[in-house]
């Protein structure tokens, strides 16, 4: 089926997006640790644990997001979208265009800053795995038009 030809990776910028999101969580947790330490008078312990959480968590996030990014590939075929992703659990999904009900482009504030967007193909099934999380915002429009033309007529159920 998919083969490995024509599979493309996500934009590298999506790594920054994932790391920024995780970074926000880490900063919040580190701040909590610092506050807890300060509250109980143990300034040094609080600072130490905040630094440990920040540095250790940062390294872990950096390593894991790189793995996730390397595992992510997709291909827009003639009649279906093919996705491959997952580090521990590998997934290869096929979403035929003749099953697509509607298409969403979704971008939060961070994604917009990075010029990224998520392309979501919705089918009649809620369990379909059909989101490409990080594609270039300017290319996304073109991709969507291409898929919309391929969606065409036909019984989708």
């Amino acid at each position: 089926m998919t083969g490995t030809t024509g599979l493309v990776p996500l934009e590298r910028r999506v790594l920054s997006l994932w790391r920024m999101r995780a970074g926000l969580v880490l900063v919040a947790v580190a701040a909590l640790a610092l506050a807890a330490g300060a509250g109980s008078g143990a300034w040094v312990a609080g600072l130490g644990s905040a630094l440990a959480i920040g540095l250790g968590g940062g390294l872990l996030v950096r390593w894991w997001t790189a793995l996730v990014w390397r595992a992510w590939q997709f291909r827009i075929g003639d009649d279906a979208l093919h996705l491959r992703h997952g580090v521990l659990v590998r997934r290869e999904s096929t979403i035929p265009f003749h099953r697509v009900q509607h298409i969403d482009l979704e971008a939060g504030p961070l994604e917009r800053r990075l010029g990224l967007t998520s392309l979501v193909l919705r089918t009649a099934s809620a369990s379909s795995d059909s989101t490409i999380p990080g594609i270039d915002a300017t290319e996304a429009g073109e991709l969507r038009e291409r898929i919309l033309r391929l969606v065409g007529a036909g019984d989708a159920l």
């Binding site: 089926m1 035929p96 099953r99 919309l148 989708a156 159920l157």
Partner: protein, 479 residues
């Protein structure tokens, strides 16, 4: 140009009046309740109310200013969102249903709300809360015409709306497929959920006795004697089963499955009569469940699921305790290509090794937990190793034997289950998308699972070779 001179091609906003009115709508007022509680508790009602009103109006106006919609003749566009921006595109052929809704606030202002739905999913895929009535009607008319042009054969609810009620065709004769005899209904009560329900009711009753100051244990042991306890149990268990059986009998009284034209109809019930109707041309999949308690009797429960086509249509019907030939008889009418049901191919031997390892690990983990928690002695440790671990391995073997898959005439039959066996019957034509999923443990043994995504639910073809899984996914996703 659409009728009435309304050109829907240019991106447009919904009515600004609607944005303001939403603030004072029921939902808007409900959102204000927590703010009001805070206001009253701090005694600064006027200030908090003023701030709340400003925030509500501002957020409503900002959300309104970011909501743009249009229809270019083929695709319906909706761009919205303040922080997370969403651009939705719905091809007109995919639209199943368009609804205009005019609540009081809409009627007062000459507005309407539009809901557009596609297949599957939950709720409306596109909602325009307030557009002018002219726009709403133009949109509906244009969507109707564009869709009919794209796919003239689709029958739908709108035809009824536009041309008045269609005279019903002469009713085709009804044919009874299965009618369950009372003996089987009793069995359904004894083996079904009623057993647990009746037990719970009994427990509640005993609890009530205790509350009345009667201790059943005390009465039983001291006044009647130990032998009588045994007698009591000997009476209680058959009585319990009899009640459960009777509940089943009353609930499913005269359970009958019949077909009339393209409708599958299931009726049952003595006190409360149930009638479920399913359109056979919209059946998505079926499931044959041989529950543990039913397997010795050679019976299975059949569940047929459909994409519900309208209000009052069931999305699934259950027909319990069927013999194999009865299952075939129903399947032949709802999924004709599914019968005769093929012999399922067993899973590869790597799947057995995986199942055994998983069973052993589960047994060791359970035993280990007991040892740690209960400070077990050497003897109990021995018992654990001699019983729990082999039991885990045995369950693993059973779950391996439960695995089976076959494809015949474009229909997939996939079985799973260690004690009870559940076979999903899925036509390729109903599969929306597919995914080959392989966990680390599966990859080590060259195995994978193919997930078939259906409208409503997903079905797995579990633990086949990776190559086979990919082939299945490829077949079900080609038109």
């Amino acid at each position: 140009m659409a009728p009435g001179g309304t050109d829907l091609r240019a991106p447009r906003r919904t009515s600004p009046l609607g944005a303001l009115v939403d603030v004072v709508s029921v939902d808007g007022l409900r959102n204000a309740v927590p703010a009001l509680v805070v206001a009253v508790s701090f005694g600064r009602v006027a200030l908090v109310l003023a701030i709340g009103l400003v925030v509500a109006v501002a957020s409503s106006v900002i959300a309104w200013s970011r909501r743009l919609w249009s229809f270019d003749g083929d695709v319906l566009h909706l761009d919205e969102g303040v922080f997370v921006r969403n651009q939705r595109r719905i091809p007109v052929e995919r639209i199943q249903h368009v609804e205009l809704e005019r609540r009081l606030r809409h009627q007062l202002l000459g507005l309407a709300a539009v809901r557009v739905e596609t297949a599957g999913g939950s709720g409306a895929e596109l909602r325009l809360d307030a557009v002018t009535l002219a726009e709403a009607e133009a949109l509906r008319a244009v969507l109707l015409r564009a869709r009919d042009a794209a796919d003239p054969a689709v029958p739908d609810a709108w035809d009824v709306e536009r041309h008045g009620p269609v005279p019903p065709p002469p009713a085709p004769p009804s044919e009874v497929l299965v009618r369950l005899p009372p003996s089987r209904l009793l069995l359904s009560g004894i083996t079904g959920p009623e057993v647990a329900a009746v037990l719970a009711a009994l427990a509640f009753g005993i609890d009530a006795l205790v509350d009345l100051g009667i201790d059943p244990e005390e009465v039983a042991v001291d006044d009647i004697g130990r032998s009588s306890v045994v007698a009591l149990v000997a009476v209680a268990i058959p009585a319990w089963l009899a009640v459960a059986g009777l509940v089943g009998l009353v609930r499913r009284w005269d359970l009958t499955a019949s077909v009339r034209g393209d409708e599958l109809r299931v009726t049952y019930g003595l006190l409360q009569r149930h009638e479920l109707v399913l359109r056979t041309d919209r059946v998505q999949d079926a499931r044959v469940s041989e529950r543990l308690l039913l397997r010795p009797f050679g019976r299975a429960d059949l569940r047929v699921r459909s994409a519900a086509s309208g209000k009052g249509d069931a999305s699934r019907v259950d027909i319990p305790l069927l013999a194999a030939d009865e299952v075939d008889r129903v399947l032949a009418r709802v999924l004709p290509a599914a019968v005769p049901r093929p012999v399922l191919a067993t899973a590869p031997s790597a799947a057995r090794r995986r199942a055994l390892a998983r069973g052993a690990v589960a047994g060791v983990a359970l035993g280990g937990a007991v040892v740690v928690l209960a400070w077990a002695t050497a003897w109990s440790l021995l018992v654990l190793v001699a019983l729990v671990v082999p039991a885990g391995v045995g369950l693993g073997e059973l779950s391996y034997r439960g695995l089976g898959w076959a494809e015949a005439r474009g229909v997939h039959h996939s079985r799973v289950g260690a004690l009870g066996r559940h076979t999903a019957v899925v036509p390729s034509a109903r599969v929306q998308s597919a995914a080959v999923v392989a966990s680390w443990f599966q990859r080590r043994r060259g195995l994978a699972t193919t997930r078939l995504d259906l409208a409503g639910d997903a079905v797995g073809v579990v633990d086949r070779e990776l190559r086979e899984c990919r082939a299945i996914a490829a077949r079900v996703t080609t038109a």
